[in-house]
């Protein structure tokens, strides 16, 4: 097994091969729209694009995003080892045009040209009891990241208090403000509670759930479904052209908060919802 090439392949798959759960949701959304509507035309174009990208092995979207890795390691494995190999793989995947160079130094304005820089790619490491390594990768586009936001409750403009009803109000507000700008239809990752940092972290991690997956907490599962219903009533539609699907799904997570704070982080994932998992077990590599 050539580990570096396995990571290049992971990056290639993430950029060019949309996962079946997302593709199916887009197909269903296409079928729901009226014939001859701009919304239907958008879904038709998206689906055709997804098919071509897979066939030609080219990035479905030219913004191949920021590279965010979540890695679960068995006890005793070194983080440094994976960081180095993945950086080399990112460089090669950029050369092969699976990725656009997306790492810019904010001080000098210079693009590193290979997707490698300070905290680029970004790594989250966890240790676990299993004997295998799990690598989950998300490509997070800039346009959709820009419409993500964080609220501090209470939030006056929409009279949102410190309860689930308040959380619902700010989420509706955020999706209204996003319009089609995050390449709608989007999928929302919501993090309730925690501090400034952890609420965003929790919201992003939701994106590894499969579309249709519901929170094991029954109250939250119902909240997710009713939010999805409400948000689709906004009729913002794909690209903001109007239409029946504004969001593909809503994933909510929560964590304990400090008594004095109440944050709600909303991460927005565009229709090009790119994430893949790779498992390394007994010297073999498996992709989801």
């Amino acid at each position: 097994m050539d580990l570096k090439q396995s990571f290049v392949e992971l990056l290639r798959r993430a950029a060019t091969d949309l996962s079946p759960d997302v593709e199916n949701a887009l197909k269903q959304a296409h079928d729901r729209e009226e014939d001859g509507s701009p919304a239907k035309a958008v879904f038709r174009t998206i689906l055709e694009n997804v098919r071509l990208a897979r066939e030609q092995s080219t990035p479905m979207c030219q913004d191949t995003g920021s590279l965010i890795f979540y890695i679960d390691l068995p006890v005793g494995e070194k983080e440094e080892y994976y960081i180095n190999i993945i950086k080399e793989a990112a460089e090669e995947a950029t050369k092969k045009q699976y990725l656009r160079p997306n790492a810019v130094n904010p001080i000098t304005g210079k693009n590193s040209g290979n997707n490698v820089g300070i905290n680029a790619p970004y790594f989250h490491f966890h240790q676990w009891d299993k004997g295998e390594v799990r690598v989950r990768l998300m490509l997070k586009g800039g346009g959709s990241e820009n419409v993500g936001t964080q609220y501090k409750l209470p939030y006056g403009p929409v009279h949102a208090g410190r309860d689930l009803a308040g959380v619902r109000k700010v989420i509706i507000d955020a999706v209204y403000k996003a319009q089609g700008l995050g390449c709608a239809p989007g999928t929302l990752g919501i993090g309730i509670g925690g501090d400034r940092v952890t609420s965003y972290a929790l919201s992003k991690e939701q994106f590894f759930r499969k579309l249709g997956d519901r929170n094991p907490d029954k109250e939250i599962a119902e909240f997710e479904l009713s939010l999805k219903d409400d948000l689709n009533k906004l009729n913002i539609g794909p690209m903001g052209f109007g239409g029946k699907t504004t969001v593909l799904d809503v994933f909510v997570g929560y964590q304990h908060r400090h008594p004095a704070t109440f944050y709600v982080a909303i991460s927005y994932m565009c229709w090009a919802f790119r994430r893949k998992t790779m498992t390394i077990k007994n010297g073999e590599v498996y992709y989801d």
Binding site: V42, L52, Y176, L234, N235, F241
Partner: protein
């Protein structure tokens, strides 16, 4: 579905209205932040002939250099247009541009410019990078590649049947304004 070929006359562009699906063919130019800034601050002439009665595409493509030295577009979806709002209307009128392709739509100043100088805003499907790259048949030339880098350069490209939808026309109509207003009302009711 309307087929349009660049150069486009003012008369033809004024026939388009919000909601029209268009397949665009001919020579167009990519330009984003640095290019727009340059076109306003220095009004360079090298790009004039390519922009006349043509179309600007807000795009930062992935481009490949072929062994024979020519270029190919690998993935080339639209980028967010609103960043060019301060410049767009003036660029349209200065260079006699008939249309802008991008995503997310633009605001009043651009809408006024479209009306005044005879142009429309075409919305491409955000993220449809591969499909749009396939409609790019040829890269004719490139300007400011060294200075601005690949995503920001002026790429002069020949496209065939590039699928777009008119979301702002030359008569003051904007689909984006309409959806913003409608969804705002619904949001208010839901939040009540």
């Amino acid at each position: 579905m309307i087929k349009l070929k660049v150069p486009i006359s003012e008369q033809d562009i004024r026939k388009l209205k919000v909601g029209d699906e268009v397949l665009l063919s001919g020579t167009i130019v990519t330009a984003r932040d640095q290019a727009h800034k340059l076109m306003i601050e220095e009004k360079p002439d090298f790009i004039r002939e390519y922009l006349k009665e043509s179309v600007i595409y807000h795009c930062g493509p992935i481009v490949k250099k072929n062994d024979d030295g020519s270029w190919s577009f690998v993935s080339a979806g639209p980028t967010t247009s609103i960043r060019e709002e301060p410049y767009q209307a003036d660029v349209i009128c200065e260079y006699n541009v008939r249309g802008v392709i991008g995503k997310g739509g633009m605001r009043e100043k651009t809408l006024e410019g479209l009306k005044k100088c005879g142009a429309v805003y075409f919305h491409a499907v955000g993220g449809a990078g591969t499909l749009i790259a396939n409609s790019v048949k040829k890269v004719k030339t490139v300007f400011k590649l060294e200075e601005f880098g690949s995503p920001e350069a002026f790429w002069v490209i020949e496209v065939e049947d590039f699928p777009v939808i008119v979301t702002m026309d030359s008569h003051g109509n904007s689909l984006h304004e309409k959806i913003l207003e409608q969804s705002g009302k619904t949001a208010e009711e839901l939040i009540k």
